[in-house]
Subunit: 252 residues, 2 copies
């Protein structure tokens, strides 16, 4: 570990609390003013700190730019995949990963069931948005007015007798999902198929993706599938941690 860098980086959280002048920085670092000056200069050249008119330093907009660029290059799919495989290996069922984009929910990854009976779905295909567990999870994270706007615009096809019948029921379901932090689809899309899912969250807590485990009745009952819920949530949380770059891969 490098002392110089260590000191320089310690300046950042310090400035996050508010602007500070050279003297304050030097004092709080426990170094000579000239040292603090050199460190600040270096940070300044990289745009991480900004010097305002009164000569005090504050965090620079470049930080924001960096973070923004990083999220854009972050690939949930790549990060999630090994976790999905692992989950599939321990329970054997089909695992899906989906994202919300432009008023649509899309599957972006899938690990096939190891049982002979498989459900039909396809990566890149829009999800049955009013009934799928992953869709509920993704929409539940939107703001209340957004949820309402989307819900009003949707069609509510009755795939089965247990499909979500209308906007009112859908919004109610979203509220439940939002509170409990997980979702199910019990025969809402195809009579004989059940799903249980959980959300993947980014560093800011917003839901960036959702995953689910699906299995047909002939393999496991809905009750049995629900016993997988803790496992599914743990997996989703692992992905969230890795996606958001949390240093401690420990408890939620």
């Amino acid at each position: 570990m490098s002392q110089t860098v260590d000191r320089a980086l310690s300046i950042l959280p310090l400035l996050a609390q508010g602007p500070a002048d050279l003297g304050q920085v030097a004092e709080r670092l426990g170094v000579h003013k000239s040292t603090a000056l050199r460190l600040l200069r270096t940070l300044h050249e990289h745009g991480l700190v900004y010097r305002q008119q009164d000569q005090r330093y504050r965090l620079g907009a470049r930080l924001f730019a960096l973070a923004q660029e990083a999220v854009e290059n972050l690939d949930v799919r790549e990060i999630a995949h090994p976790h999905l495989v692992e989950l599939n290996e321990s329970c054997g069922h089909t695992v899906h990963l989906a994202v919300y984009e432009e008023q649509e929910v899309l599957y972006i990854d899938k690990v096939e069931s190891r049982y002979p009976v498989r459900m039909y779905s396809r990566i890149g295909k829009p999800v049955a948005i009013t009934v799928a567990a992953v869709a509920k999870l993704l929409l539940a994270d939107l703001s209340e007015p957004e949820r309402r706007a989307v819900a009003e615009k949707l069609d509510y096809p009755m795939y089965t007798s247990r499909s979500t019948p209308n906007a009112g029921a859908f919004l109610k379901e979203l509220t439940v999902v939002r509170e409990q932090g997980w979702a199910t689809d019990l025969g809402g899309h195809e009579e004989s198929i059940n799903c249980v899912g959980a959300p993947v969250r980014g560093a800011d807590g917003r839901v960036v993706a959702a995953m689910s485990v699906s299995a047909p009745n002939v393999v496991v009952t809905a009750e049995e599938l629900l016993t997988l819920l803790p496992l599914v949530r743990r997996t989703a949380d692992s992905i969230s941690r890795e996606y958001s770059g949390t240093t401690r891969p420990r408890k939620a």
Copy 2:
């Protein structure tokens, strides 16, 4: 300027482009692996980089948190946001907010167009400084020598045939913008996209941010877009008023 810190900080933009392993980092820094390792470790301890399961490095959660705080310190953004949304609701086009910092112009907020055809841009990304309407507005407010100094240092890429060709033309354009109090970009960055923008001023009259409305030719012509100018200016003025009112002159 500190060499060690300089090297360490150079790693950040490198990782913003995507995950990289130790060897790649060392190579791109032009240092020995062991040196890169020590730097990465230090960054890691501060949570700025995260080590994923395949041992590659990425930007970490702490950086996102810092970026968040950095942007919260720019209180123009908070104040402006509702106004931008309102403007978007009344005209439907993409709305941007940008600031000037350290020889760069950065988008710090954006409200997406409600039309299906959208333009590409990204908050946090440096703006095409020689052509964008917001860039002209921000630079036009600098003092004459500052403007000249910046103009000389810039490159003038010809994104299109209507891009600003050189420093002379740019300075002339800045003078015009300065006098008229608004700016345009008519196909200067992308052939089919036009923008019209206006400045946000602080209590002392200085330009603290700039906003613009952008739309592609296929949706509205340049002439039609220009009819929005009064609306854009009114919005910018509203933001200026609110910002001047709430800005607390701690030590102006």
